[in-house]
């Protein structure tokens, strides 16, 4: 199969890669692009472990073809911290132990960040509905939801 050359922007940096036409964005991220923070859980759009944003829109990278990223702005978990400085959500997840095995964590963080960018003051119900597409088999979700709520409160206080 002939490889396709794709030019895109990943975490603000211009980027190019080669892929098969049927490779998913997740395949490209974890393969040629070497960005393994996005995880493959279900590969069918149910678990959210591969969450990324495309032009600021939250999507599952397993449900997108890599070739579709041509000309778009892709953001992954690798773009969340600024150098050594963790994003407030990452810091809060650590402080509140909102993770155990970690497989769901990057998807949870990317999805939570997308929520807080749209809604700086979500209710607990809104957080739970927003994260319904991110499955976690360890934590029982309470610590994750609390960490997102507390981060939102902190960010409102500092802004």
């Amino acid at each position: 199969m002939a490889k396709v050359h794709v030019t895109t922007t990943i975490n603000g940096e211009p980027s190019e890669f080669l892929c098969e036409p049927n490779d998913t964005m997740l395949d490209a991220l974890r393969g040629p692009l070497g960005l393994t923070g996005s995880k493959e859980g279900c590969a069918s759009g149910d678990c959210g472990a591969c969450s990324i944003t495309v032009d600021d829109r939250l999507v599952c990278s397993c449900l997108m073809l890599a070739v579709e990223s041509e000309g778009h702005q892709i953001s992954t978990i690798e773009g969340m911290a600024k150098g050594d400085r963790l994003h407030p959500l990452q810091q809060k997840f650590l402080e509140m132990a909102a993770l155990q095995c970690g497989i769901c964590t990057s998807g949870m963080l990317v999805a939570s960040d997308a929520l807080l960018k749209r809604n700086s003051n979500p209710s607990e119900e809104e957080v739970r509905f927003w994260l319904a597409g991110n499955l976690c088999r360890c934590t029982g979700y309470d610590k994750i939801v609390r960490a997102v709520m507390e981060t939102a409160a902190d960010m409102r206080a500092t802004n």
Binding site: S44, L58, L63, E70
Partner: protein
């Protein structure tokens, strides 16, 4: 193995030409939330994927000259949610579209894909049927319009002709006192497939229902337009007698299957229950309009 080709044309003509030439090997890609799952499962092995999202008409939401809306077939649920006025005019259609999958799925999935996937349980379809949406399709023989309820032909099948591509949904202007609602029954609170889904669109004038349409999903091989239920509502004050008659009409229209999500008896009963609940929500919204 056939080689897969990916095409993302800017023009509709180019898309139709390529799609028609590919015959049964061609697949349309809008949000891909069904297609990519089917490809991975090996259910479909396309030779050509035509990505329609670079065609301007496919991703546009516009108000028509007469006060209706035209929604491109590839508009994502989240884009529809973010539109300034669509959800105020068509809250039922919007809530149906935004019940499809997770937020991640809604970032890509479209009403056009939901319709063309042909699932009897697609959430947006009963709401679009209730809304009286007209779809525009175009193929090698030109452009045509048809009522949305005429698109599904059975599970996984549509009445689109070979080479035809769904372009947009046109929703009619709303008279004063109109609104709509969509409810689905699922055993969970989120992220599930409808056991029954029901959309109601109605118009009230001086507390009398002057117009109504009812779309019913997941209880037959295709989503149904239930005329008998609409007739029971029209002319009434949505009193118990009218609601009971409309509920009975919905139950009578059911031709469901027994499966792990619900039995025939259960689905048939719930169709009637949902008619009453959905009508109540639509009526409450209409009173404010």
């Amino acid at each position: 193995m056939t080689e897969l080709r990916y095409l993302a044309p800017n023009s509709l003509d180019e898309a139709i030409k390529a799609f028609a030439a590919a015959g049964s090997a061609g697949r349309i890609l809008a949000g891909g939330t069904d297609l990519l799952v089917q490809m991975r499962a090996g259910v479909v092995k396309p030779g050509l994927i035509v990505d329609i999202k670079k065609i301007a008409e496919m991703t546009k939401i516009e108000e028509t000259a007469d006060g209706g809306f035209r929604v491109g077939a590839a508009v994502s649920g989240m884009a529809l949610y973010d539109h300034v006025s669509f959800g105020k005019v068509w809250p039922g259609v919007l809530e149906a579209v935004n019940l499809i999958g997770s937020k991640q799925v809604q970032g890509r999935a479209s009403a056009g894909g939901n319709l063309c996937n042909g699932s009897p349980a697609g959430d947006s379809v009963p709401a679009m049927v209730a809304a009286g949406a007209i779809v525009t399709v175009q193929g090698p023989d030109g452009r045509r319009e048809l009522p949305v309820e005429q698109v599904p032909a059975g599970p996984g099948r549509t009445n689109l002709k070979p080479g035809e591509i769904l372009i947009s949904f046109t929703l009619p202007p709303r008279p004063k006192g109109s609104s709509d609602a969509y409810l689905r029954m699922i055993p969970r609170t989120e992220m599930d497939i409808a056991v029954v889904g029901l959309g109601v669109s109605l118009t009230l004038k001086d507390a009398i229902c002057t117009a109504a349409r009812v779309g019913l999903g997941a209880v037959a091989p295709t989503v149904l337009l239930v005329d008998a239920a609409a007739k029971a509502l029209i002319g009434s004050k949505l009193d118990d007698a009218a609601l009971n008659a409309a509920a009975a009409a919905c139950s009578a229209a059911c031709r469901p299957i027994d499966d792990k999500r619900g039995t025939i008896v259960y689905r048939t009963k719930v169709a009637g229950v949902l008619l009453k609940r959905t009508t109540a929500i639509a009526a409450q919204r209409a009173q404010g309009n």
